[in-house]
Amino acid sequence: METDKLLDIYTRILRIRRFEEEVGKLFAQGQLPGFVHLYIGEEAVGAGVCAALRDDDYIVSTHRGHGHVLAKGGDMNRMMAELFGKRDGYCKGKGGSMHIADFSIGMLGACGIVGGGIPVAVGAALSAKTRGADQVAVTFFGDGAANEGSFHESLNLASALKLPVIFVCENNQYGEFTPATSAMNIKDIALRAQGYGIPGVIVDGTDAIAMYDAAQEAVARARRGEGPTLIEAKTHRRGGHAEGEDAFLAGQQYLLPEERDAMRRNDPLLKLHDYIVERKLVALETLEMLDQEIGQAVADAVAFARASEEPDETILFADRWA
């Protein structure tokens, strides 16, 4: 892989990591309303896949969507303002963490309903095909969503109509707090692709380069008009289901100690960092400078969000009928 591309993917991952760390802190301080579901641990999936997309390709996201917006090139200021519920947020404070969208970069929305975004991505692909455009649509979703009817209907529909969709399952091994192993009787969700007559690929979702390679192949297939691919990214969520989840769990543990160890060993950011440094592809100082720049951008985003005004009644009743 070219070093520029590698650095591009690394930058996407780092932007997500630093943004999410800050969001976690703000949430713990009680500064953010509602729920937040952090993408820490899964960054290589969104970053690797989005690095294989064009600006005019579409993505549809999930309740754990901050990483997807940033991976597609979203603006940190407007994202942070949305998480604060402020008027300068992407959705003027009406969407929040689970419903951020940026149509200008093909980001068609996060989604608070598990599996709810999958059919929408199929529609975006149908639109591209009908218009004769060679855009593709990616839908990210979790292992939990792979048990929703919308997943199965969408894989079949996209396969039957040969639509340019890439189904990216982020198998982080838990649907909320229920292990995937007890929610399905198969180990690999990618197997389900076979039932719909499309390729199913298993990828190490903590390996950004592998994610990029798998996505590139699926995207090329979709652009050639050969139809959808299901990519199962084996990954994990470092922070659990939602920030502040201890309050829901009331002392109950659901992760095994060895799972925590595995997560630490397989940190997608550190893995890519080490890959770059060991091969001396980019100077360490450059990476450190990048980290500083991103840290500053996150701090600026928080300042931007704080400075933004609360939405008012005009905003409440705006954006209703088109």
Partner: protein, 329 residues
């Protein structure tokens, strides 16, 4: 003026809009064959790319229509029966009705969901319900329920051109109705009611099949010296309060008739609004006529007992007309 059936008027509206705008597509199960004939013949003219048969996957197909609408197309999604909309409810309620608002106006969702709504032909519990109140309840989605061939053509064309999601409810038992339908282009604006019969004594508010039942009731009432004004709402959301309130101000009496259920039904909504806003004009409480609160039974005898009939409407009008005029001081 050419006479056409209700179904032929649907065909005409779809064909005209497909010709008018290349971003219009038709998707759904059996749209090529056109089981109810509303989509029949379109595939021959518009081909595979725009007349798209899908698997029987209501949720997935509805969502695909929404995603396509948010990215530049103007899809008509044919889901056949009103009760099948229940299978697609998540996509309609959580995506179609919410996307524009929750994303701060970044997109519009110009999708039309077309189904046959209501009963009256012995199709049994799973194919006969009038489902419109579920969609009237949702914000930011329009609901249209035409009663005549003329209206169905003009309203369907307007629904497809509308930039908002629209639930378009053809009536299962009106498909063979004949009426005057111009071949020329015309649109009927959504949100405008139509006074199907003028009268001075009582206002009957209704839509869809109930318009025909109300007109029959009005003929009977006329023979008894009671002149009923029959208002066909045509669009159930947003509905034409202005026309209804103006009529009630003239007649002072109102019966609301709806094929849906009595609890949180169409009639409940209209009656509440009329009672609130036309109180000073009313000489009797607004009367509701709705379907009985049971699944729609198969037996034609039982089905008739459930769905409001002209006789039920006549009886309701008698209840409001029996009220004495208030004493004028």
């Amino acid at each position: 003026m050419p006479r056409k059936t209700y179904i032929a008027a649907i065909q005409a509206a779809l064909a005209e809009e497909l010709r008018h705008d290349p971003s219009v597509i038709l998707i759904g199960e059996d749209v090529r064959i056109g089981v109810f004939a509303g989509t029949r013949g379109l595939h021959a003219e518009f081909g595979d790319a725009r007349i798209i048969d899908t698997p029987i996957s209501e949720l997935g197909v509805a969502g695909a229509g929404i995603g396509a609408a948010a990215t530049g197309l103007r899809p008509v999604v044919d889901l056949m029966f009103g009760t099948f909309l229940y299978l697609a409810f998540d996509q309609i309620a959580n995506q179609a009705a919410a996307m524009r608002y929750m994303f701060g106006g970044q997109t519009k969702v110009p999708v039309t969901f077309m189904v046959q709504n209501g009963g009256g032909i012995g199709a049994g519990p799973h194919h006969s319900q009038a489902v419109h109140p579920f969609f009237m309840h949702l914000p930011l989605i329009k609901v249209v329920m035409p009663s005549t061939p003329y209206d169905v053509k003009g309203l369907l064309k307007a629904a497809i051109r509308d930039d908002n999601p629209v639930i378009f409810l053809n009536h299962l038992s009106l498909g063979g109705q004949r009426g005057d339908v111009p071949d020329d282009e015309y649109l009927i604006p959504l949100g405008k009611a139509d006074i199907k019969r003028a009268g001075r004594d009582v206002t009957i508010v209704c839509a869809g099949l109930m318009v025909h039942h109300a007109l029959k009731a009005a003929t009977k009432l006329a023979a008894q010296g009671i002149e009923a004004e029959v208002i066909d709402l045509r669009t159930l959301k947003p509905w034409d309060e202005e026309t209804v309130l103006a009529s009630v101000a003239r007649t002072g009496r109102c019966v609301v008739v709806d094929e849906s259920y009595p609890v949180c039904g169409g009639a409940s909504e209209w009656a509440a609004c009329i009672s609130e806003k036309a109180w000073d004009h009313l000489t009797a409480p607004v009367q509701r006529v709705s379907s009985a609160h049971v699944p729609i039974p198969f037996s034609p005898v039982l089905e008739k007992m459930v769905i409001p009939q002209p006789a039920n409407i006549v009886a309701a009008v008698h209840r409001v007309v029996a009220q004495p005029e208030p004493e004028r001081i």
